[in-house]
């Protein structure tokens, strides 16, 4: 037995200096921000609450998708290239996932992975609405391309005017601008044409637009969710969806390696009690165990309530800024569902590797409307939009144990900050029932399940569950994100938590912009090389 001298590693009572920046929270945004700061030559410390940071997800059932995500569609392409994530192990098992939509009448349409070519699906091309569908898709994609930059992440230079949306559009032409402003308030029903053309195309678009948002297809602003959704370029193709090998955990790991490569000092199991404010600016952070780290820059990647109200404290915040906290209550959320199913004489058994697909159940328009109403009333809806993938479909048969693994996201569900067993059971039953549209008789073969709700993700990151609920409408998110990012007025504080992101999905764009702003700040205020 070796007798190593015990070194007291607790930081209680110490004051640590010589640090240029502290990043709080090991989310994708936090990791990306830390990597950027490290690359810029700033001595950076990343404080994560969980014992392992960017840890591999070794639960065989969740297959690396337990972090709330199983597909990549909003991952910031600039982060991928700036940090060289492909070199650090990011790999896409499929980068233009075809989507097969299932409908209530048990019909199915398989659509090209490139949304611009979606209308080429024979079922769509043959329908009466093919032309209208094509022009709608083209217009939406064009709008999404114009708005990609402003919709990716907020500005950190203090833009807070509620009309900022206009300013961001200023570079687009007059006509484009008018079109965007008209579409910004429109519901998906307005755009598709109210109750006129019932049919699978409408159900398909409604489901895509309403998926993981708080805007029902008939609600104003819902169309813009589709614009946001198709503005992503995770895999180098606008609007396409990619499946990262190893799931979201693989992206987190690549980001962690990027941070490590940039000499970021990553510290796990560290809780921050408060951010020290001196003369209107950040002076350091105080850890829960008592120690202090002095630093002029803090990037906060946990939720906004924690960042501002708890760690900074209301007495240091501008009065109008606090209005951002009060005006939104979460109503809807999504649930992540994993299942292990017995491989029976199943249609996926003999599929080749390319069969990795995104499967989506698109409830009928009326059912979807009912679902949103039910969720608003706090009930688990009967019909849910379900997006599912079978992660091991990409692998050859002998790699697995013959079982099928399924990862699904279901929406809309009522947001519940403290879900009990009864609620979980109800949610699980509803998801399984809806999965039957995608894979008939699947429910009979399920052996083991995992259900991940917003509070479960929150526990993992140490953030507030509300931050993981379905975000408000895009324009509200726009205002909220820009407010949190640019208007707190505390010098040296940069926020890139979930509220700074627009739309669902793993993005890291806010982390990139926050880090860029912090680096510019460090150059002006000294401390950066």
């Amino acid at each position: 037995m070796t007798t190593d001298a015990k070194i007291d590693t607790s930081s209680a009572g110490t004051i640590e200096g010589g640090i240029d920046a502290v990043v709080i929270g090991a989310s994708a945004d936090g990791l990306a921000a830390a990597a950027y700061l490290g690359k810029a030559g700033l001595r950076t410390v990343l404080l994560g609450a969980s014992p392992e940071i960017g840890a591999a997800d070794d639960d065989p059932i969740t297959q690396g998708t337990a972090h709330g995500e199983h597909l990549a569609f909003q991952l910031d392409p600039d982060v991928i290239s700036d940090l060289g994530l492909y070199k650090l192990g990011l790999a896409y098992a499929a980068r233009r996932l075809e989507t097969t939509y299932f409908f209530e009448n048990h019909a199915a349409i398989t659509v090209n992975g490139d949304p611009a070519r979606a209308f080429q699906a024979p079922e769509i091309a043959a329908s009466d609405d093919a032309e209208a569908f094509q022009s709608l898709v083209e217009n939406t994609l064009e709008m999404a391309a114009q708005l990609r930059v402003p919709l990716a992440a907020p500005d950190y230079d203090g833009m807070k005017s509620e009309n900022a949306f206009d300013t961001a559009l200023a570079h687009a032409g007059d006509k484009a601008q008018r079109q965007v402003m008209r579409c910004a308030v429109a519901s998906i029903d307005d755009i598709i044409g109210g109750g006129t053309n019932e049919g699978p195309l409408r159900d398909l678009l409604s489901a895509e637009a309403a998926f993981r948002t708080s805007a029902a297809p008939h609600a104003p602003y819902s169309f813009f969710n589709l614009v946001k959704r198709w503005s992503g370029e995770a895999s180098g193709l606008q609007g396409a969806i990619a499946y990262p090998e190893g799931g979201a955990a693989a992206i987190m790991n690549a980001l962690r390696r990027a941070a490590q490569g940039a000499k970021v000092d990553i510290r796990a199991s560290m809780q921050v009690r408060s951010i020290i404010i001196e003369w209107d600016g950040v002076a350091g952070v105080e850890l829960s165990e008592g120690g202090q780290i002095r630093t002029p820059i803090v990037i906060h990647a946990l939720d906004a309530r924690r960042a501002f109200l708890e760690t900074i404290g209301t007495q240091f915040l501008n009065i109008e800024f606090q209005g951002l906290f009060g005006n939104w209550r979460p109503i809807y959320c999504s649930a992540l569902f994993h299942a292990k199913a017995k491989a029976a004489d199943d249609e996926y058994d003999d599929l080749p590797a390319t069969a990795l697909r995104r499967l989506m159940f698109a409830p009928k328009h009326g059912s979807l409307r009912k679902a949103f109403n039910a969720a608003r009333a706090g009930r688990v809806p009967e019909k849910l939009i379900v997006e599912a993938i079978l992660p091991n479909a990409a692998k050859t048969k002998d790699a697995g144990d013959g079982a099928h693994y399924l990862s699904a996201i279901a929406h809309p569900l009522p947001f519940n900050a403290a879900p009990d067993e009864v609620y979980r059971k109800q949610v699980e039953a509803a998801i399984i029932k809806n999965l039957d549209y995608i894979a008939p008789q699947l429910s009979d073969r399920i052996e083991e399940t995992r259900l991940t709700l917003p509070p479960d993700i929150a526990v993992e990151t140490g953030a507030d569950a509300i931050a993981h609920a379905a975000p408000p409408t895009i324009l509200q998110q726009w205002r909220r994100a820009n407010g949190f990012a640019g208007a707190s007025g505390v010098r040296g504080m940069f926020f890139c938590g979930p509220e700074a992101q627009m739309g669902a999905g793993l993005s890291a764009a806010a982390g990139r912009r926050a880090a860029k702003a912090a680096i510019a700040y460090a150059r002006i205020h000294g401390g950066a090389p």
Partner: protein, 391 residues
């Protein structure tokens, strides 16, 4: 305390607690409304009321001014967040003036904070600020109430104001200390105040007892009720800008309309080297150098209106450097006195105004010395001294 600009759209203004009392004296019967409350514009004539203000005392209904009672351990912290007045340093009975600033450091309103007792503060503002107060109370151990509708408030101004108050039974021996006392059994909170160069007393007491205190004060020889029109003359003479007239609240400002304390000539109400207040951060860090300035002018004419253009003197038909924001006829000087919002580079230079129709010539506008202007000048001199000695 200054009234905010009149609102011309209120159809049936609410009656202030002192409405019955003031209506019985309002011979001219000219009324207006401020913040939805009724307010007399004229009781007899401006000359008569103005003369009383300078020789004896005037009494005026201050019921249209908003008052918040802030209670709790963090009352002073909340008051400092809302207004720039140094609430934490106030002893019971003391009051201080300040400004309400936006997050960007632009002026929203004027404010006065009084500490009535250990954990009870009174915040007096020309306009109501319900939302701002709610946001400012977030996270603090306080409760606050808008008590405007529950109290009567009146002001007595003039050289004999304090004498009149003393005769009515309010002992205000200390210079700055507020007193709570009883006037014929009615509990009152009174404090000394100034309206420009005029000394005065402001009193707040229960709504039900409005007439008792008013009548008691009216017994004083020479006490004259005065309306908003007379107060307007006194206000411009004293150099106090009026919210809604001389500046636009930053909450309603269109681009280019928001003004910093320095631009309003009130830098002494928001000193940046003191404790934290909302907007200080922006003023210290990001606020650009002042580009406009609010000046008081004496116009060589007997008529002028708000909105008239101000020019740099002797520049021919140059571009206007600014506009008159409010003006009134001073019975003493027999001239118009005015506030004007002008470009900063035109301040200190000779100015003139042009009356319509064009071609009728220009009228000279001389700078008018005011009490508020003197305070600002003293403050600037002190700041300059401090920076020089720091070097």
């Amino acid at each position: 305390m200054i009234f905010s600009a009149e609102d011309f759209v209120t159809e049936s203004p609410k009656a202030t607690a002192l409405y019955a009392a003031s209506a019985s004296y309002c011979e001219a019967n000219i009324w207006t409304s401020v913040n939805g409350w009724s307010a007399a514009r004229l009781y007899t004539s401006i000359e008569q009321e103005y003369a009383a203000a300078h020789s004896a005392a005037i009494i005026t209904d201050l019921g249209a001014i908003t008052r918040y009672a802030i209670r709790g351990d963090d009352a002073a912290m909340m008051a400092t967040r809302v207004a720039t007045a140094p609430a934490k340093k106030l002893e019971p009975g003391e009051s201080a003036r300040g400004l309400i600033l936006s997050d960007e450091g632009a002026v929203i309103d004027l404010a006065e904070v009084s500490r009535l007792s250990g954990d009870l503060l009174l915040l007096t503002t020309p306009r109501p600020h319900a939302r701002r107060m709610r946001l400012a109370a977030r996270g603090l151990d306080v409760s606050f109430d808008d008590i405007t509708a529950q109290v009567s408030a009146l002001g007595v101004f003039g050289p004999k104001a304090r004498e009149a108050a003393a005769k009515a039974g309010i002992d205000l021996s200390g210079e700055s200390v507020a007193a709570s006392g009883h006037v014929r059994g009615v509990e009152t909170a009174a404090r000394t105040t100034e309206f420009g160069a005029l000394p005065g007393v402001e009193m707040v007491f229960p709504r039900e007892e409005a007439l008792t205190v008013w009548e008691r004060l009216m017994r004083f020889d020479g006490m004259t009720p005065a309306g908003l029109d007379t107060l307007e003359v006194l206000r411009i003479e004293s150099g106090a800008p009026r919210p809604g007239a001389d500046f636009v609240s930053a909450e309603n400002a269109r681009p280019g309309q928001a003004r910093t304390p320095a631009e309003l000539g009130l830098p002494h109400l928001a000193p940046l080297d003191r404790g934290w207040f909302n907007g200080r951060r922006a003023l210290r860090q990001t606020a650009p150098a002042p580009s406009r300035t609010l000046v008081t002018l004496m116009l060589d004419t007997e008529e002028a209106t708000a909105g008239v253009a101000v020019f740099a003197a002797g520049k021919g038909a140059g571009k206007a450097v600014g506009r008159i924001t409010s003006c009134a006829f001073s019975p003493d000087a027999k001239r118009m006195i005015a506030f004007a919002d002008i470009a900063i580079n035109a301040s200190g230079k000779p100015l003139e105004i042009a009356m319509a129709p064009p071609g009728e010539g220009r009228i000279a506008a001389k700078s008018l010395e005011t009490a508020e202007g003197a305070l600002a000048a003293d403050f600037r001199a002190l700041q300059k001294e401090a920076t020089e000695s720091a070097r």
